[in-house]
Symmetry: C2
Subunit: 190 residues, 2 copies
DNA sequence: CATCTAATTAGATTATAATCTAATTAGATA
DNA sequence: TATCTAATTAGATTATAATCTAATTAGATG
């Protein structure tokens, strides 16, 4: 139900602590203790809020040794900014529409604890969810060389060539004279 | 504090009942009992939610005899949709920036119980708040004849000519060969 | 494998928020 | 002015949510 998605998103960002976390992450990723320190709250409290933000796909995370860095998913904010205007006009047109809980489950299933991709999903819908996850962190409107894309993908999977091809086939990215760029239209699964 | 404004806005629309009210009002104004009926809730509950929506300038109201019709302030939704993206980048640049509580007070002071304008404020800031209030209900992107604008203003005040002129001077509207149109940029007081 | 660091979960407490019924207010009209 | 209609306020109840301390888990590293 589209309505619940919108309600949950706004309930999530309708909290001072969580807006502060978003504001902090605007300037780049941070780990939990850093956030707790800056906001004068305890790590469990931050965990609590981070969980809500993550469940709503507003942040994602990358581990570096013992430390988990939280990143803002700016794309989601842009997307939901638009969604306010569509309240009441929901049509549920796209069969590939999927909610955040479902996305979350698929991501859990296909990534191991390191955030490495175990296998590439065969089912189209699941594959789209995973590809969407893998382009998080790439900037919209910026061009990348093939080498940069390969490096980015290698964080998740050895077989960068296949995944790079999937990015193009599924239109998450465009290639133009050897340069890669994110598809600015990012409504794939919403 | 800009942060609180954003938090309150999202807290307000982060509620299923209130999103449903917004969705209903997308199709045109309704009175309290009608909303209560459609949502299966009691009038006091609707009053409670309406108060929150009104405090955040998401709806406004017009009385017709005994019945108060609630209207959606679509401009506010568009405005706040943009605001999500500016979290963390607040500068507080404009001295005419003003919060919803302040607006609300000014509107209370200058309008009588019927919603009629008692006097036109002399102070610029207050005048802007009132003019902004008076253009609520006009559609963006649509053109109006002078007669239509006059009629619209007469709902609030006899001296439509002065107010019509203020709309132009303060750039709430543009005039082009006898037709009037709302200024699509509507960030006046935010 | 013992230990360190960072994050999360469990459980309790406190603070907010949503909803109802009953009482009250405000305006319209016979 | 008496009465009707619609909306709001008061007060109580119940449900959610935010935060803490203490305990636990997961990885990294000597």
């Amino acid at each position: 139900m589209q309505l619940n998605r919108i309600v949950n998103f706004h309930k999530t960002i309708g909290d001072k602590t969580r807006i502060q976390i978003i504001a902090l992450l605007k300037d780049g990723p941070l780990h939990g203790q850093a956030i707790a320190g800056k906001l004068g709250l305890t790590p469990p409290t931050i965990s609590y809020h981070i969980t809500k933000l993550r469940e709503n796909d507003i942040i994602f995370q990358r581990r570096d040794k013992n430390t988990i860095y939280f990143h803002l998913n700016e794309k989601k904010l842009e997307l939901m900014a638009q969604a306010i205007l569509m309240i009441g006009g929901e049509k549920e047109l796209d069969p590939f529409k999927v909610d955040d809980v479902e996305k979350y489950k698929v991501i859990q299933n296909f990534l191991d604890a390191d955030g490495k991709l175990k296998t590439i999903p065969a089912q189209r819908k699941k594959k789209l969810i995973i590809l969407e996850h893998l382009v998080k962190g790439l900037e919209k409107g910026r061009t990348y060389s093939e080498i940069e894309i390969n490096e980015h993908i290698k964080q998740f999977h050895e077989d960068y060539a296949t995944i790079r091809r999937e990015f193009i086939i599924c239109q998450f990215m465009f290639r133009q004279n050897g340069e890669y760029e994110l598809n600015p239209k990012e409504m794939w699964l919403i």
